[in-house]
């Protein structure tokens, strides 16, 4: 099992998958991310996987799980850098990656996280003033 480094930049946690990982490492990463969200109060998670030449149903489910679990801890998740061949394969496998935000690259991903944060802050403010 390999430990995958998570770095915090500003409000975001950033993970870059640089090599094919086994299932336990993927599950470990999921747990580590949630602990980091709790510890740091990060409101964004960015998972970069441009180095991966395959995402199978296990990894696909892990990405949706990370998204859902982070959401319950008030953090948005954006997956970036999915290779075109991986995107095609995901569709053929029939994986929908429901609720998962994606962006082309890290820069676009960080911009999207920023947008999601602003949108949330905006809607939160409105609800407050409604009361």
């Amino acid at each position: 099992m390999q430990k995958i480094p998570i770095i915090k930049i500003g409000e975001n946690l950033i993970v870059s998958l640089q090599f094919d990982i086994d299932d336990s490492s993927a599950v470990g990463l999921q747990g580590d991310l949630l602990l980091m969200i709790q510890k740091t109060g990060a409101t964004g998670v960015l998972v970069e996987l441009s180095a991966l030449d395959m995402v199978d149903s296990f990894m696909g489910r892990m990405l949706s799980d990370i998204t859902r679990m982070s959401a319950t801890m008030n953090a948005n998740t954006v997956i970036v850098g999915i290779q075109p061949s991986v995107a095609i394969t995901l569709v053929e496998l029939g994986l929908r990656l429901e609720g998962v935000h994606t962006a082309l690259n890290v820069e676009a991903g960080i911009a999207l996280l920023e947008k999601l944060r602003t949108a949330k802050a905006g809607s939160g403010h409105e609800t407050d003033s409604d009361k």
Partner: protein, 135 residues
């Protein structure tokens, strides 16, 4: 049909799934498959070997180059002597899983390759054979 052995990987532990994917990566790249087909093959091998590991505990993957009518392809055979599958049609259905998975492994794998053959008998094991032809 001519068959030329390329590689064989035994699946017994979780890290062997990585080894099987690496074998598929090397074979498909050495044969000159385009990137999308390489990804399809690696993904298909990953799905089938995870099933072996999850449901049968152990098994074997063999990779062979096949030649037929001046076309060549990669054939992958995944064999186990696990519990087998009682209802293959049901197991092939997207969303059906007895293991808490997404249930897209077998059906998805079939869509990723050109030929897909599954034989299984409850109590005896499962053999899945897939072929991807070079375009």
């Amino acid at each position: 049909m001519r068959q030329i052995a390329i590689n064989e990987v035994t699946i017994e532990r979780e890290e062997h799934l990585l080894r099987a994917r690496q074998a598929a990566r090397e074979a498909s790249s050495a044969m000159g498959f385009n990137l999308v087909d390489q990804t399809r093959l690696i993904t298909a091998v990953s799905e089938l070997t995870r099933n072996v590991y999850n449901y049968a505990g152990r098994g074997v993957v063999t990779l062979e180059k096949v030649e037929k009518n001046a076309r060549s392809g990669l054939m992958v055979t995944v064999t186990d002597r696990g519990p087998g599958i009682a209802d293959i049609e049901l197991a092939m259905t997207d969303g059906y899983s007895t293991g808490g998975g997404l249930g897209n492994g077998l059906g998805g794998c079939q869509r990723l390759v050109d030929e897909f053959d599954i034989r299984s008998k409850a109590g005896e094991g499962t053999v899945v054979k897939i072929v991807k032809w070079q375009s």
